[in-house]
């Protein structure tokens, strides 16, 4: 077999679209100015380029360009939003509500805030990965200042009920923040329509470059402010100091423009390929399960568990040819499976058996056909080797077995 390499890990990062790269190149040498240099053409040129990119990014999510704060990426945006709001609104309260399946950039920021006096509620999710709105409302207190819920989950693609959460926040007068890293550029994301006040996202998940992201901060009714987390030149309306990464911002703008133009077509094509992948595997193999909500989910993602097959071992059967992620982090000494899948109530065994396929703009039908065949072979190979598959086929109830935990 010819050495072929298929990339199905677009939720980790997307390739930078060549059209994006082309727009960035002049800003490294010919147009290398500092956007904050106010008194010569190099600076003016850079500032103009940043302004234009800000308009492109704002247009994608239908907000005012002044509401876009450029950062180094979604992790910084999450940190800035959570820590910045906690500091800025300390008078009003110290309680934050978030969800157990959030990205570590949110969860770890919240843990840091707990050390600084915050009280944080980590909501459970239902079996489909979505939160229960009644449980969210029940968690709200007089001291609640912020609710932070991710738009779409990175591991499962499950989309949260954003509109309904926005309504709850409005009803109780609480700021609503969302980590929309996996959603922006892939599906329509219009934070203002849904009452979202702060939203983190990044370029490199939408065919832009790494190292640049943004935080949307609502400017009017209410006017939201966050305390800067870095001190310096007072860039980005004082909320994020640091010389702007002009080439990357230009690329981010172009990526946003392309996403707006091509989103509908990408969605149609990728959801078709994703469905083909899922249906073929489920038809050709026994005991395959979809993790996450089957309807409220991203068009290009599927997370599947192959029962009685260990994910990392399965990946070894094809990772010379196919790049994707496993839900079990067997490389860590703790052998802990995905906390997202565990929070959804998956047994450890199914969580260890999961793979995440995330398709992208450059995925072809041929890639998917190759993948279906490779996964089918890999699962069968691993099941031929698996004692628990054999026991399952013999009708032994695995729950009744006395395992020697180690």
């Amino acid at each position: 077999m010819a050495q072929r390499l298929i990339y199905l890990d677009n939720n980790a990062t997307t390739p930078t679209d060549p059209r994006v790269v082309d727009t960035m190149v002049p800003y490294f040498y010919e147009k290398h100015g500092n956007a904050a240099s106010r008194n010569h053409p190099f600076g003016w040129e850079a500032e103009e380029a940043v302004d234009y990119a800000r308009e492109q990014v704002a247009a994608l999510i239908d907000v005012d360009p002044k509401e876009i704060i450029f950062t180094s990426g979604a992790t910084e945006s999450d940190n800035l939003a959570l820590k910045g709001v906690f500091e800025m609104y300390a008078r009003k309260g110290n309680h934050i509500i978030t969800v157990k399946t959030e990205h570590k950039a949110v969860l770890d920021s919240c843990q840091r805030l707990e050390k600084d006096g915050a009280e944080v509620t980590y909501l459970e999710v239902e079996a489909n990965g979505r939160i229960d709105l009644a449980k969210l409302e029940a968690a709200i207190k007089d001291s609640t200042i912020l609710i932070s819920v991710m738009w779409a989950n990175n591991e499962t693609g499950t989309i949260q009920p954003m509109k309904e959460i926005g309504e709850l926040c409005a009803k109780h007068g609480i700021l609503f923040m969302s980590d929309a890293t996996q959603a922006v550029g892939k599906i329509p994301v219009h934070p203002k329509e849904l009452g979202i006040h702060l939203m983190a996202f990044t370029a490199h998940k939408m065919y832009g470059p790494k190292g640049v992201g943004a935080l949307f901060v609502n400017r009017k009714s209410p006017r939201v402010k966050v305390t800067a987390q870095m001190d310096g030149g007072g860039h980005e309306r004082g909320m994020r100091s640091g010389t702007l990464n002009v080439p990357a911002i230009v690329g981010f703008g172009k990526a946003a423009e392309l996403a707006k133009l091509e989103m509908a077509e990408d969605t149609r094509r990728l959801s078709g390929l994703r469905d083909k992948l899922e249906k073929s595997l489920m038809a050709q193999l026994e005991e395959v399960y979809i993790n996450g909500d089957p309807t409220n989910r991203m068009p290009h993602v599927t997370n599947l568990s192959f029962k009685h097959v260990e994910g990392e071992g399965l990946m070894m059967t094809f990772n010379q040819n196919i790049a994707l992620s496993s839900g079990s982090a067997c490389t860590s000494a703790s052998l802990e499976p995905s906390y997202v899948l565990i929070a959804m109530g998956l047994g450890d065994d199914l969580a260890h058996s999961s793979l995440r396929f995330s398709l992208g703009r450059f995925t072809t039908e041929d890639d998917i056909d190759f993948t279906i065949e490779a996964i089918r072979k890999g699962v069968n190979h691993m099941r031929d080797l698996s004692p628990i598959w054999e026991m399952y086929k013999e009708g032994i109830d695995l729950e009744s077995v006395q395992w020697s935990e180690h």
């Binding site: 009685h308 097959v309 260990e310 071992g313 490389t331 004692p387 695995l398």
Partner: protein, 139 residues
């Protein structure tokens, strides 16, 4: 993470995959690990009742590549050994042979446990006493 050549070879072409009839008196079975932990090994030995030499060994493993390679290697090493010799196989021998990285040492520990558990099962079935020094694998 990159696997060693030896791990890859055992993973692609595992030796002695299969099942022996556990109801037979001269077959010892060791089943160790747990699905929740992400690895389960079943290792079986068929022993000559006269000489207590291991005639055949088979395994099936649910786990990562290193777990599969460790059990495949273990079955190769077991064949032709007496059960007393087999008891001396140490997990660190497996680590060395397969060049396992530190995060995969537990795979070799599991293989050692599986060997000892299979031999213990055979001894129990045949009423053979345990020798004075019965090592317990450290986990």
């Amino acid at each position: 993470m990159a696997y060693s050549e030896k791990v890859l070879e055992h993973f692609k072409n595992p030796k002695n995959v299969g099942t022996l009839d556990k109801s037979k008196k001269n077959v010892g079975t060791g089943l160790v690990g747990a699905p929740e932990c992400g690895d389960v090994m079943r290792l079986q030995i068929e022993v000559d009742e006269e000489t207590h030499m291991i005639k055949d060994a088979k395994f099936k493993t649910f786990g990562c590549g290193s777990a599969i390679a460790s059990s495949s290697l273990a079955t190769e090493w077991l064949k032709g050994k007496s059960i007393d010799e087999a008891m001396t196989i140490d997990n660190m021998d497996i680590v060395e042979e397969l060049a396992l990285p530190p995060v995969k040492i537990h795979c070799s520990v599991l293989a050692e446990d599986a060997i000892k558990s299979a031999i213990t099962d055979y001894r129990k079935k045949n009423g053979i006493g345990v020798p004075e020094k019965q090592e317990k694998a450290s986990v």
